[in-house]
Symmetry: C3
Subunit: 348 residues, 3 copies
Amino acid sequence: MTNKGLIQNFFEDFEVGRKLTCPTPRVLTDADRVAYISFTGDRTPLYCSSAGSVHPLIVFHTVLGQTVRQISLNAVANLGYAEMVWHRPVRVGDEIHTTIEIIGLKENSNRQSGIVYARTTGSNQHGEPVLSYCRWVMVRKNREAETSYLRDPVVPTVAPLVPTGHLAGTPPNHFSPRDTGGNFFLEDYSVGERIYHSDGQTINSSDHMSFTRLYQNSARVHFDAITTGGKPLVYGGLIISLGYAQAFSGFENRLGIKAINAGTHANPAYAGDTAYCFTEVLDRVSLSDLHGALRLRMFVVKNHQPDESFSPMNDSTSSNTQRYHPAVVLDLDYWELMATRRSDAGRR
Amino acid sequence: MTNKGLIQNFFEDFEVGRKLTCPTPRVLTDADRVAYISFTGDRTPLYCSSAGSVHPLIVFHTVLGQTVRQISLNAVANLGYAEMVWHRPVRVGDEIHTTIEIIGLKENSNRQSGIVYARTTGSNQHGEPVLSYCRWVMVRKNREAETSYLRDPVVPTVAPLVPTGHLAGTPPNHFSPRDTGGNFFLEDYSVGERIYHSDGQTINSSDHMSFTRLYQNSARVHFDAITTGGKPLVYGGLIISLGYAQAFSGFENRLGIKAINAGTHANPAYAGDTAYCFTEVLDRVSLSDLHGALRLRMFVVKNHQPDESFSPMNDSTSSNTQRYHPAVVLDLDYWELMATRRSDAGRR
Amino acid sequence: MTNKGLIQNFFEDFEVGRKLTCPTPRVLTDADRVAYISFTGDRTPLYCSSAGSVHPLIVFHTVLGQTVRQISLNAVANLGYAEMVWHRPVRVGDEIHTTIEIIGLKENSNRQSGIVYARTTGSNQHGEPVLSYCRWVMVRKNREAETSYLRDPVVPTVAPLVPTGHLAGTPPNHFSPRDTGGNFFLEDYSVGERIYHSDGQTINSSDHMSFTRLYQNSARVHFDAITTGGKPLVYGGLIISLGYAQAFSGFENRLGIKAINAGTHANPAYAGDTAYCFTEVLDRVSLSDLHGALRLRMFVVKNHQPDESFSPMNDSTSSNTQRYHPAVVLDLDYWELMATRRSDAGRR
């Protein structure tokens, strides 16, 4: 008799073009806003004042958590993200539903696993998309027989950059520097500038597991100290949120993350690691009199406080293929909306 | 002068027939739903979507926490539950009040302690019962003098099984398999079948203490590492909730726990233990075209992933009187409402 | 180029009379009430029933957290509080804003740091003050040059006691002893009486960091295990809340903390410490037929369960200047409103 408790997808269970609906619908509430603050310390006014909405990263974690049952219970590694766009704000009381389309499959030559490329869309209770992204993960095979995707892999092309057209639309309310605590606006950032956010956070066992459960992400590797040899893996999404929360110091007048161009979990993190964060400004574009966008590259680094001498890439001693420094746990290339100095002048 | 900070009941303070009102009234909110998800990872749609109500186990923890001040501050051991029935749903905003009636007392022959049998009723703000159960706990004596319950114990009879009549009534809304992620219905379960829920959870110090405080359960043995020799006891209710959350994998179309026939905390659990869970199907009854009930026996096992070779009972090396395998921490016999395949067909 | 991520105030950046607005506005919700219960176990009915308001200590933590960015990112030590008064209740949905006035500055003779005296006011969304207090903290200097406050320090006078006039006004609703679980009223407490609250709480890493992040207190010393040599400091506010929650046992008919006369964090606490608490009754005043105030001195003691032989002060082996016993972590002198026996009699 089949064990009903272990129904799951392996690599050979996917086919290109297949669409999947993800359990479980989840309503987001004030309590999700408060829990997020308690786990991350994020101080962006838009997400903790009465005027604000649900943090875009709460939406991301909710959607990603919903996909785990279908996609990543048997994931070996979470390889990357691209083309991630938040389409519209989520308000308290909205209910999130998620669907997936398989857009690529590539079996590995060792026949033990393969890469699943999935386009994911989270929608609200009105069926309007709130977030979409591509993600690729390495998933184990269950049976030895090779699939057609060993000889005929389907590898989708993903855009290296979310076009600025996706960033347009009405900007969110901006809070005054009295409420944000920061005096830098879009115009003040220079391409090539580095910003060090000096708020190191040590990750505790309970924090990372509770955060991951909050989003109903049930991937086993995060929770079981026995099967992981005493080292449950920290959910990569928590690293994104800790970095983004730290990045409030230096981007106090930010209006919210709007798109992720590329994201890589460069090395694993475990309980006891301390996360530091710095950001490089890659680009700056104007979108209106009131706001523009910064293309930012955020690095989260563990157990090493980065300074100007720190080089995150091209480490010859590194074993990972992209030659990240072994202390780098996250490399995230994203578009952040920013208020202009003019928008603030207009307010006074 | 009496220390006002240490007013409490010992075994000799109870008498059969006495009724007690329990502090503190507690309103249940969206935040209780979210906190419960974060502590347990439960994914049952009824309790995390906008359509749903408050998880029956939240109600149980709230009621049990309210009884601690009167009953179990001086408990030596929590011996068992029976005749537990959830009478009506609890909605966000409902306020829970709890009363107790002492229905039995039996002093132990060593005169150091005795067993208190209590019938507990939790009600909502309208005075309508939402949960009732019998529980028996071993409570310390404070004075040496023997009580009349040494020679004339009063031991109530508890029913071994909640009759199916208590399970009737309008079933809760059922979510479609697209929203639950599972394709098994009432008809698919066989008496004698075992289901292994493969989501091991390592329990952290902070998790179990915060969960227990959340329900205002102030029994000291859960919180003080000094007086417990470095091993604060995990509140048994958390074990019930972790097991029930894991059991979503395999019972995705469940409509909610409706009654507990018998429950035993077979062995203690401590921070660092990893909880696994499996379920045996004891009975299956039809209640309407739309739903029925499964009588399930859920075992939570620590630090050992159970499989078909695992025998939870009749362990000759075990020191506990019921001869549980030393890894068994919970043996719970309960009624779970389940949707029928017909109910799902009717939806399409 | 200045690192935009590290904009902060040092001692020399303050001047007497300067007013500062604090980021970030924060709305308080049901979720803040629930999170507070989960972190502290507080069982005061006013703050967990449907009739109640937001716990005064939630308001305190929110306001103090808002001041960190301006005042205490570079604090060496948090020296004390005085003249703290809660002016009006905070309800679910209220949004808190905080301002500071610098009322004193005193550079230390070593020129490495100085004491900043700040009057802090937290207000609701209508601009009405909800909490105000004086606090003094030792803050590092960044530049060597001496300030005028080395030779001409400005040291404000703070009242040793909040006058009982500040305690007047409509008392909060009182719950009956059936709902509080306690039978002692204002008239039952004697000046000089000691009350031992016997609910030891071991503090976990995750608890204290999550609690501190919840209130968006970003002082680095609480979060970074590397820069603190493995011992992140427990936020002193958590100690206040743990002590106050324990003090429910013995003051069950309390109506809420109304003012703090003086507060000292006598010794640091770290994860793994177990907090015990006892209270001395310093004064008792009648305010109306329905209620009065107790002046209480609460001591929180770590890793040592205090009894009548414990002397918190005048320890000759102690290295701290006020000669606190090394186990004392908090000395808090406050006014607690209490129901009278008459108010309860009137209810029946």
